[in-house]
Symmetry: D3
Subunit: 156 residues, 6 copies
Amino acid sequence: MRKKKLSQQIVQQSADQIQMLAANIDDQSAESVAPVIELLMDAGALDAFFTPIQMKKNRPATQLTVMCHPADQQKMTYLMLKHTSTVGVRYQIWQRTVMPRDFITVTTEYGDVRVKVVTYQDIQKYSPEFADCLAIAKAQNLALNQVYIAVYQQLK
Amino acid sequence: MRKKKLSQQIVQQSADQIQMLAANIDDQSAESVAPVIELLMDAGALDAFFTPIQMKKNRPATQLTVMCHPADQQKMTYLMLKHTSTVGVRYQIWQRTVMPRDFITVTTEYGDVRVKVVTYQDIQKYSPEFADCLAIAKAQNLALNQVYIAVYQQLK
Amino acid sequence: MRKKKLSQQIVQQSADQIQMLAANIDDQSAESVAPVIELLMDAGALDAFFTPIQMKKNRPATQLTVMCHPADQQKMTYLMLKHTSTVGVRYQIWQRTVMPRDFITVTTEYGDVRVKVVTYQDIQKYSPEFADCLAIAKAQNLALNQVYIAVYQQLK
Amino acid sequence: MRKKKLSQQIVQQSADQIQMLAANIDDQSAESVAPVIELLMDAGALDAFFTPIQMKKNRPATQLTVMCHPADQQKMTYLMLKHTSTVGVRYQIWQRTVMPRDFITVTTEYGDVRVKVVTYQDIQKYSPEFADCLAIAKAQNLALNQVYIAVYQQLK
Amino acid sequence: MRKKKLSQQIVQQSADQIQMLAANIDDQSAESVAPVIELLMDAGALDAFFTPIQMKKNRPATQLTVMCHPADQQKMTYLMLKHTSTVGVRYQIWQRTVMPRDFITVTTEYGDVRVKVVTYQDIQKYSPEFADCLAIAKAQNLALNQVYIAVYQQLK
Amino acid sequence: MRKKKLSQQIVQQSADQIQMLAANIDDQSAESVAPVIELLMDAGALDAFFTPIQMKKNRPATQLTVMCHPADQQKMTYLMLKHTSTVGVRYQIWQRTVMPRDFITVTTEYGDVRVKVVTYQDIQKYSPEFADCLAIAKAQNLALNQVYIAVYQQLK
Ligand code: NI
Ligand code: NI
Ligand code: NI
Ligand code: NI
Ligand code: NI
Ligand code: NI
Ligand code: NI
Ligand code: NI
Ligand code: NI
Ligand code: NI
Ligand code: NI
Ligand code: NI
């Protein structure tokens, strides 16, 4: 079973370490490598993304990068090796500055939306929860942006 | 056998039509689609290139675009369908403004290099022939840029 | 309700016209523009994809391109204007060469998989149905590639 | 002298034609091709942008695309040929659906901001004028997003 | 006030350390993230650039990477957190080999241009100062490349 | 003289270190930077690739990344400084998980093809040697994919 999504957890520390992992993919089709992003996120990756790269012999290839907690390095490596064509995964620890976060709920004309509140020194940012906004937009046939504006209007 | 390369031919007209052809590739690996550029160029394409695109279902895919003389549309379509995984090729005629071109030869400290001279209204541009410069750089273990500078120094 | 997916339909003609539509997006976030691909595909687009572009003032922007039947031009335009921040949609008809297609079903050690068979002159290509392979891979915890290889082994 | 910026003009028609022009750049450095975007915009281009492409012989090249009024085709071609290394410019007319636009001014805690209001059928979108928001953000040392949120809060 | 531009300083050491910082941006528009590059450069970054990436849920996102002196790590982090939507910045020290550099001034038919001269072992490279060439090109309505060629012709 | 290609060697260890090196290129043309990939691979790089990046002042630039054995760091740095316009190379050691590999030869209707067999825990992957498949495809005028399918059909 899948844990509560990280983006919905309260985080209080402002520094940690993250594990970066990467592999270059040149012998697998786009459609077969695509599902690996969701597989990795479901297994606890903090982020997973593709970068277009141009390899030797004019190959229009793809770099797969994964970020996770250091404790998950072996699990992510296993999934990358199993679900992509790569034969090697490079990895390294990076430091990270994180904005501590909290959540508030705002009530709009379209319904309730959670808003992530992140702070760092004198910086304060509000980020409406994407999943909430999308659910409302779909259910009420609205453009996503209409929902975001409705949320911003309730922030004081 | 392969014709004299287009970039080495004298061209005098200043307008023509070109055939654009394109296909999106999402079910073929980078290493297997890569050789198609050279295949198409060898068959007379004026240009052939890849653009990184992001398709449905998070696929890190590739668009293949080919430019050729309108008379070569069927030949290029055949090669695209044979050597890539696509099941369809879209195409259309575009107009083109072309700078008439001529060639001069300049003698540098490293050897002779052909230089393409192109003109349009009051514009005149000099373009050292890449293949000549590369051959000299490799033979004499020079950086390519040293050869280009040597050529520019001979342009009056 | 959603129609049978186009990729699963038998197609017999070898030429048609497609409507290309495009817009450049520079004032909408990645997370808010992302769902539009699926919205457009669900509404009958033949393809919809993003291309990374670099606009004026150093903006790391995105081009949205949509391909559809000419009869769907107005519907697609409406969805693009509603769900993205663009204020204009450019469009044009392109010609298209299409490989007529048929389907066969192959039985592998992991289960049945439909295979698209496309032909054009002397070219014949087999394309295992992605959705079938993915469903099997997920259900049996296999790498996608294992399923594809199993399918290829049954093609004669 | 430079005309009033297009993005600040009221537009009432909902359809027009635009001229697309394009060229592939492989023999000019990034720093020397970069200023051409601003040159083209200053000369009246409606949009001008770069797309990363991968050309023959493994060249990490750039496509330059320009959109303008059809009447400006020759002027844009001249600038592209003068300020880039390309020897040819391809071009074609595309149709365009445009959302008619009007402007309102909203007063925020940080100052006045013009907001573009665009409509099409039942769609209505508000787009705060980027230049106004940027000027305020710089003058008052704010994050741009704070200014946008302040504008959204005044829209009703 | 802004310091003398780094590219115009004489550098004598051939090795140092640089601080890499990066963040993925998926909930901020292209037009609002664009100005951050100049903000970071003005604050002393050695380099700052965007890379197109493809994140989860089909998001056409952007990676922001910053390079600076290790002593500037906190200042750059603050600016990245303030002016982008990211909630975390990853960072790490890399080693760097640098070519010691000096400057000469060459006099061309169009005016004076500084040229950076960099050396490493037996390698020597000349790099005309971009800002000087651009200023001349604009003032005298020349293509940038004409100015560069004029400079190369004066390098003995 | 050039060593046996790495991809054809048997590898037995499952972890090692690799040297990452990178440089941003903004003052060199695509055609002049392109040959550096092959130069680096010929000198023993494990991988070398370009990533499209967007630098300050709207430059559509290119990042060059090289991976090599740590012992080759100085040799690679020299080649990057000699053959590109960059004045600095950043570098760092990363860890790597590698799948031990062995080779088998399969006999297809078109000829013999070596197949790389890589393993890690319970993962086993087969990768037909690209060079062998390409040589057969060219000699017998086949699409590459036909050769790959023929190889897969012989894997039990
Ligand atoms: Ni390979
Ligand atoms: Ni965790
Ligand atoms: Ni498919
Ligand atoms: Ni021809
Ligand atoms: Ni805008
Ligand atoms: Ni249809
Ligand atoms: Ni060239
Ligand atoms: Ni106009
Ligand atoms: Ni988000
Ligand atoms: Ni400094
Ligand atoms: Ni420079
Ligand atoms: Ni080695």
